[in-house]
């Protein structure tokens, strides 16, 4: 007799199930894709204390664009009065020309606001190296009652009420305007703030004519005097912490020591961390006066002189200072192809 249709249907069901099972049992897993290339932390290109900045940092320009708007947006603050750009001014290389920043309805900032440029290359954030990541630093600044006195949630709410943001976020993020996307956009902008192709970087890459002879001599002094022992690496600083006043007591000379002067001590409460600060990056340093955490050095020359005095224990000749300053001026890079 020929098998009935129901028998055939049954056979087909079984065979399907068995085939599926057999396939399942047979496959040991998908073929592994090519190994991701591991980063090579121990590879340096120049053999010099300073490395050139990469010329092509990947950034999400659309999100960074939103982040730029947010950076200048007072609605980011709890009272809608303070924008990030109030203390990191575009006119002043995203730093503050005032020794202590002053924002509407806030007390004076305890320290000078440093530049935002190349912030992505810094190993820790804030003068006292309190934060390990840009995320953590931004979170703290947003909620700090003396800074933004805000929250990502509050900022997102206020932004949603303003025309334009909703649509921009919806275009750039699948889930639109959310607190975390506000944070992400701002971070994307901050990470896009890079200033590659400084004359000194071009010099490091082999263009001997990129900097003047005086700058070259300044660089030699920079290394010989030990400046490069701390101001080093890609960001010419920003990769270690150091005590202010190794050879001479900076704070005794300046006087009026306040807790912000304690630096890293405020975080660790270890005596050895008192007056220890993150070594600041010297990228674009010619544009970011005044200098030091307390903003006491108004010019590049005075900053170089003070550094030599307290860190090296030596009064530099004015010519050495000028040479060093000439070198430092070659560290001004390009933001979007133009000087910042």
């Amino acid at each position: 007799m020929p098998p009935s249709p129901s028998t055939i249907a049954r056979l087909r069901r079984w065979s399907t199930a068995l085939l599926a099972g057999a396939t399942l049992a047979a496959c040991g897993g998908p073929a592994s894709d090519p190994e991701p290339r591991p980063s090579e932390p121990f590879l340096t290109t120049t053999g010099q204390p300073i490395e050139p900045l990469p010329l092509d940092e990947a950034v999400d320009s659309e999100r960074a664009g939103i982040g730029e708007a947010l950076f200048k947006e007072p609605l980011m603050s709890g009272d809608g009065k303070v924008a990030c750009s109030d203390c990191h001014s575009e006119k002043h290389a995203l730093a503050d020309e005032r020794a202590k920043s002053e924002a509407s309805g806030r007390p004076y900032s305890p320290v000078n606001s440093p530049t935002m440029y190349n912030v992505r290359y810094l190993f820790k954030l804030a003068w006292g190296a309190r934060f390990d990541s840009l995320e953590a630093h931004n979170d703290a600044l947003m909620t700090n009652p003396n800074v933004m006195a805000s929250s990502w949630e509050g900022a997102a709410r206020r932004l949603a009420a303003k025309a334009g943001y909703e649509a921009r976020f919806r275009h750039a993020f699948a889930d639109g305007l959310t607190p975390m996307n506000v944070r992400a956009a701002l971070l994307d902008y901050e990470r896009s703030l890079v200033t590659p192709n400084a004359p000194f970087d071009r010099y490091l890459r082999g263009d001997a004519s990129a900097i003047s002879e005086r700058a070259k001599r300044g660089y030699a002094l920079f290394k010989t005097y030990g400046c490069a022992s701390c101001h080093q690496g890609m960001a010419v600083g920003g990769n270690m912490v150091q005590r202010v006043g190794i050879m001479r007591d900076y704070f005794a000379d300046r006087g009026k020591v306040t807790p912000p002067d304690w630096g890293r001590f405020n975080l660790t409460h270890l005596e050895r961390d008192r007056f220890v600060f993150r070594v600041p990056s010297l990228r674009n340093v010619a544009l970011t006066a005044p200098y030091f955490h307390d903003g006491t050095a108004a010019t590049l020359e005075s900053a170089v002189t003070a550094m030599a005095r307290y860190q090296l224990g030596r009064e530099l000749e004015p010519d050495d200072v000028a040479l060093l300053a000439d070198f430092l001026r070659t560290l001004t890079g390009e933001y979007r192809g133009k000087p910042p």
């Binding site: 098998p3 980063s39 932390p41 121990f42 090296l312």
Partner: protein
């Protein structure tokens, strides 16, 4: 059927087990990509750790001019640490905890190492600055001292301190340290001479840097030792070892699961095939049964057809018989009645009586025929029932014989014998049908003057009758249909008859539980033997139901 249920249950279990296990294996399959990544990350922890140690040593010796590699290495280690916190899903239960313990130990070591390296970076920078700057300053001091006309051996002391520092930096033992301190003291005591040369401030700076080297180099060296002694590499290696063991366990489990899966698949196949075979066999059996039923139904239908055909034949014969056998006496009655009406006035009494007698005889014949037809009809309708009553059988039979002799004008020699007890309980009317017909046939089918023997005998149980004639006899092949209605023997067609007689006999006997047999020889004669139970109780319950 029960066996099939067991197989189906087993098949269902196997299939369910197979699917469940397949789903489990799918969910817990060793993701080779994840496996590769995790193992690679664990190995990379160790590679980076060694690299870090090497970089720290290089930085200590001034061979690494910047700390970016250290920063990058820690950043990478943090990334790996975070990635490794999520143990692969395919590992056996409890693996995440075991790995977590090992990785926790590693993370502790890493944090300690990072703290030490940070301090090392800070301290090392200071020492490196001094190590770099002191020779420059010393050379400058010596040059300037020479230029200024050094007579107090100032430059010699600077040189002594410089070489003492170089020795200290290379050897670093207490002896070398003592030499540095001595040279330092000597230079300090020459500060006046330096002042005279205008070099006192830079000399103080040089001494300060020498002090930095002497004081801080041991700290840096100690930090290096501490960095190198942090058991981060060992912890990472242990974590990798643990992971390898867990991975092997997962591999073993996966093999066992696949074997079980294979066994279940085999079970499903075997049970499935068995079920299919059984199903087919059941289908074949069902088909065979259906065929049998169909052929039985066909046979029954054929029988019904035959019956119907016979019934139709009977009806035809009945119609033929009635048209002929009823018409003959009816014609006689009609013609005698017309003759009487036309000529009765003129005929004498004897002539008139003769015709009246003809009419009476013909009417009697018709009445008997009608009685026979009704008896058969009643029998076939199932309403022919005996109503027994006590009779004297001897007298009943004698009256029957006498009536027959009278009606045939003694044309045959009727010999009647009776034996036994004559008191019986029987249905008189039915007995009349049986014996009347048998005796009438004997008369009808035998030549006048021949002998007819009618013997009756009663026993304790039954009454036995036999009727014997010396007539035509019945062809042997026609005996089986002898008791069917309207059938007449082929050799009796020339004689008048309805074919109802023996059918009535048979039916009348049937309802009395009687039997009849026949012996016959063509041309020699026929004998009918009849047996009827002697005491015919009410047989209602044992009667055959209507057909």
């Amino acid at each position: 059927m029960r066996g099939s249920l067991v197989i189906r249950a087993a098949l269902g279990l196997c299939l369910a087990g197979f699917l469940a296990l397949a789903a489990f294996i799918l969910a817990h399959a060793i993701d080779e990509r994840e496996q590769g990544r995790y193992a690679r990350d664990l190995r990379r922890l160790q590679t980076l750790d060694s690299g870090l140690n090497e970089a720290v040593l290089k930085a200590r010796s001034g061979l690494l001019p910047q700390y970016d590699p250290l920063v990058a290495a820690f950043r990478e280690l943090h990334r790996l640490r975070d990635a490794l916190r999520r143990a692969p899903a395919f590992l056996p239960r409890g693996s995440a905890d075991r790995l977590g313990v090992e990785l926790g130990a590693y993370e502790k070591a890493l944090t300690r190492k990072e703290d030490l390296v940070e301090t090392f970076k800070t301290e090392n920078s200071v020492v490196q600055t001094s190590l770099l700057y002191f020779p420059v300053l010393a050379t400058s001091l010596i040059d300037r001292a020479h230029a200024a006309g050094d007579r107090a051996g100032f430059s010699e002391r600077v040189r002594t301190l410089s070489s003492a520092l170089m020795l200290f930096e290379t050897v670093g033992d207490e002896d070398a340290k003592a030499r540095v301190l001595r040279a330092q003291e000597e230079l300090r005591s020459a500060l006046d001479a330096a002042k005279a040369l205008g070099l006192d401030r830079d000399t103080a700076v040089a001494i300060a840097h020498a002090r930095v080297i002497v004081e801080r180099k041991p700290t840096v060296d100690e930090l290096v030792r501490e960095v190198l002694s942090v058991p981060s590499f060992a912890a990472a290696a242990r974590a990798e070892e643990t992971y390898t063991a867990l991975h092997h366990a997962a591999l073993g489990r996966a093999v066992a699961q696949k074997q079980l899966l294979f066994a279940l698949a085999l079970g499903v196949i075997v049970l499935g095939l068995t079920e299919v075979i059984l199903f087919m066999r059941r289908s074949a059996l069902a088909l065979g049964r259906a065929k049998d039923e169909l052929s039985l139904a066909h046979e029954a239908l054929a029988v019904e057809h035959e019956k119907e055909r016979l019934r139709g034949e009977l009806r035809n014969r009945f119609i033929t018989m009635t048209s002929h056998e009823f018409r003959t006496p009816l014609t006689g009655i009609v013609s005698s009645a017309e003759l009487l009406a036309s000529f009765g006035e003129r005929w004498d009494a004897e002539h008139r009586l003769d015709h009246v007698e003809r009419i009476r005889k013909a009417a009697g014949t018709m009445e008997r025929m009608l009685e026979d037809v009704l008896t058969i009809g009643r029998a076939e309708a199932g309403v022919l029932r005996p109503s027994p009553s006590p009779i004297r059988l001897d007298e009943f039979c004698r009256a029957l014989v006498e009536t027959l002799e009278h009606s045939t004008n003694r044309s045959h020699a009727l010999r009647y014998t009776f034996l036994g007890d004559p008191d019986v309980t029987m249905d008189e009317r039915l007995l009349q049908h049986v014996l009347g017909n048998l005796l009438g046939n004997a008369v009808k089918y035998s030549a006048p003057g021949t002998e007819i023997r009618f013997a009756v005998r009663t026993t304790a149980e039954e009454c036995l009758f036999s009727v014997h004639d010396q007539g035509l006899g019945i062809p042997a092949e026609e005996i089986p249909t002898l008791f069917t209605s309207f059938s007449r023997a082929s050799n009796a067609q020339h004689l008048p008859g309805t074919g109802l007689g023996l059918a009535v006999v048979k039916r009348a006997l049937d309802v009395q539980k009687g039997t009849i047999t026949v012996e016959s020889e063509l041309g020699r004669g026929t004998t009918f033997h009849v047996s009827i139970p002697r005491r015919l109780a009410t047989l209602e319950t044992t009667l055959t139901p209507p057909a």
